[in-house]
């Protein structure tokens, strides 16, 4: 079952063309060849994406972009989950491009957006860093550290929040090939890379926004919504794989899917897939509409996805039996991606607390 997260022509077109590409060029066996060089993503795919215009989804029309928004990226993110795409779609084409395109600085946009669209330049965004943990900005030099930056190993620049001595917050971009920067790359269980980055007086550029703090908060909300979309893609595929398996695997003279006990559990998985897709779609819709309920929906969705990703991944592997644990089986790769997305959406307790807080403020508003 498929959900149209973008709910418009642009999003549908994008989803269909990327889905076709993924099926033809990025299926499970192709994936292993693509990733053989150990970079954690496929440079060829990034080049193909650039050629197709998929990296300019959020770029303004006047700059050869599609002028899409977060919901458009949501359609892409569902495919990232569904096909286990490894490239920096979220942080570069999604969040990074979104921030740069929204900035008031035309010079910066002209400088960066074309090379990003061409796939020659990739950015990452330290979206997990809250405003309260902003780095130090003094004389246009950044000091501090950010841990676990997604795709930080292959990014050319990083966008982070930084506060100067007056307490004013800016969103800054930092080119990562400076001597004042130390990076430690780590590999995730799903093969993607993160980097811990430390800045000891690194040069940066401020992005111009009317309200940097609000912009950063909104971007963080977008990140969660987009990860929910990725998660929805993952759980849907996990269910599909499991259904395929229980229909063909025979033990005791019949396909194991004939067992009512398993059928009931598969129905539960299907219900959770439904909930995941609905919550992800609602999050993106309300962000697009700037609805006042957007943030509550997003943190609620994150909580639902955190649970669904665990439950569905565990059940999928269990029903595959021994092969579900093996490197060779597709399901084990989705299992690991599910664990990653779940961790990125969390911590659960925090999302639940935010969900309840948002609910209380809604009540007050009423």
């Amino acid at each position: 079952m498929r959900t149209d997260f973008a709910q418009d022509e642009l999003g549908s077109m994008l989803r269909d063309s990327i889905a076709r590409y993924a099926v033809e060029r990025y299926d499970f066996s192709a994936r292993r060849t693509l990733l053989a060089d150990g970079k954690g993503y496929a440079p060829q795919v990034w080049a193909d994406a650039a050629e197709q215009g998929w990296l300019a989804i959020r770029h303004p029309e006047g700059m050869n972009g599609a002028a899409g928004d977060v919901a458009t990226v949501g359609a892409l993110m569902e495919l990232v989950g569904r096909h286990l795409l490894m490239e920096p779609w979220l942080v570069s084409a999604g969040l990074g491009a979104g921030l740069i395109a929204a900035s008031d600085d035309d010079g910066l946009k002209a400088q960066w957006l074309p090379t990003m669209a061409a796939g020659e330049y990739a950015v990452s965004v330290a979206w997990q860093t809250p405003v309260a943990s902003a780095l130090c900005l003094e004389h246009d030099l950044v000091t501090g550290e950010v841990a676990a930056v997604l795709h930080g190993n292959c990014a050319d620049a990083l966008l982070v929040p930084a506060r100067d001595s007056d307490g004013a917050l800016s969103i800054v971009s930092i080119e990562l090939d400076q001597a004042e920067i130390r990076r430690a790359d780590r590999v995730l269980i799903d093969g993607r890379r993160i980097a811990d980055v430390r800045f000891a007086g690194a040069r940066c550029q401020r992005l111009a926004f009317r309200n940097s703090e609000q912009t950063w908060q909104r971007m963080r909300a977008e990140a969660l919504a987009l990860l929910c979309a990725e998660g929805a893609g993952v759980v849907n595929r996990l269910l599909e794989l499991t259904l395929d398996y229980v229909r063909v695997r025979k033990q005791f003279g019949q396909p194991i899917g004939r067992n009512q006990a398993l059928q009931h559990r598969l129905v539960e998985m299907r219900l959770q897939v439904e909930e995941s897709q609905a919550m992800a779609a609602a999050s993106l819709e309300r962000l697009r509409a700037n609805a006042s309920s957007a943030y509550r929906t997003i943190v609620g969705a994150a909580s639902v996805l955190i649970d669904a990703l665990k439950h569905i991944a565990d059940e999928a592997v269990q029903m595959h039996g021994g092969i579900g644990i093996t490197e060779e089986a597709e399901v084990s790769h989705y299992y690991r991606r599910a664990n990653v997305v779940r961790a990125l959406l969390g911590p659960r307790a925090q999302r639940m607390a935010e969900f309840c807080e948002e609910g209380a403020s809604d009540d007050q508003r009423r």
Partner: protein, 388 residues
Amino acid sequence: MVEGARQSLREAVQRFAVEDVPAALRERSRTFAALDKSDYVQWMQLLHAKGWATAHWPEEDGGKAWGLMQRFVFEDEIARQGLPWIIPFGVKYVGPVLCHYGSAEQKQRFLPPITDTSEWWAQGYSEPGAGSDLAAIKTTAEPDGGDYIVNGQKVWTTYAQWADWIFCLVRTHRGERPQEGISFLLCDMNTPGITVRPIQTMDGHHHVNEVWFEDVRVPEANRVGNEGEGWRIAKFLLQNERTAGSYVGSAWFLLERLRSLLEECDADTSHRQQLEELELRCFGLETVCYRLVAAMMEGQEGGAEASLMKIRATELHQDLARALVDVLGADGIVAGGESLPREQAAAPPVPLDAVGMVTNQLYGRAETIYGGSTEIQRNIVAKAVLGL
């Protein structure tokens, strides 16, 4: 086994952990590091030196005739201390099978090198078409002049890459029911025609294998018990496999690591509540297991005690493993690489056993699958206990 005796045994294990087990090995085991063959052989020999490796064997076979409870307490405490896995294939599986069903010659040949782990054993049970439905095995053993010629394939054979010998369920003839015609055969891994192929699991390690048999010649003298007795022997062995004191000890070990991790991370209320729930489950598991083992000792078994224990223990282990990884947060999805030493006071350092916790959770997903999946165990309980 009276409480005082249980306590003495626990204390003896605790002393052993500190005085006899090299600190480096103990530390690696407690931090979920992958151990290699030399580590395990060293470990098994330490147990042997204490007279513990085969203490549960009958006295006439060189054991101390430990009862089920004594063995259970011992295994529990070993696991509780975070000590390495007691490699069961020789001392707990094929060893007791030989003690029970083996001929004098077989015992003489095979028992001594099992006790000191100078020979390493693998378990050839499952096949690609015979997982849950173990009776559906297809590996055949055809008689040929005082030997058997074995053809087939075994899968999920743990540490077969290190094995000198493998005990296999093979089909020597076809009966009315699939369980008939299964025999228990001991094969030398060096025999021409045996090939071991590694299976990589999602934790990145090499635990299990495929073992292929192509026209492998095995002397008839290596058959344990009579032809067709294999299924009964298999059930005897599975009962031992599923009655493991480590069920309880591992749960407590993981819980205590979770407790210390929460202190290191200064974790929030919800994690503490979760710790309390898990602690209650550990306590419940221990209480149930010890009661069931006592019943088994008194011959009051209904036949599904091992299944009940395995269902609950494996679920709990998986939930504990998840809890550890969840507390790690961003560090709980990392497979490898060095982080920068954290400078900010607010960020605790990455625990040394973080990657071990991650791989433990991934491979631990198999606990509810191997040794008879939870689904099969539930079928056994439904039939044997509920009479459905």
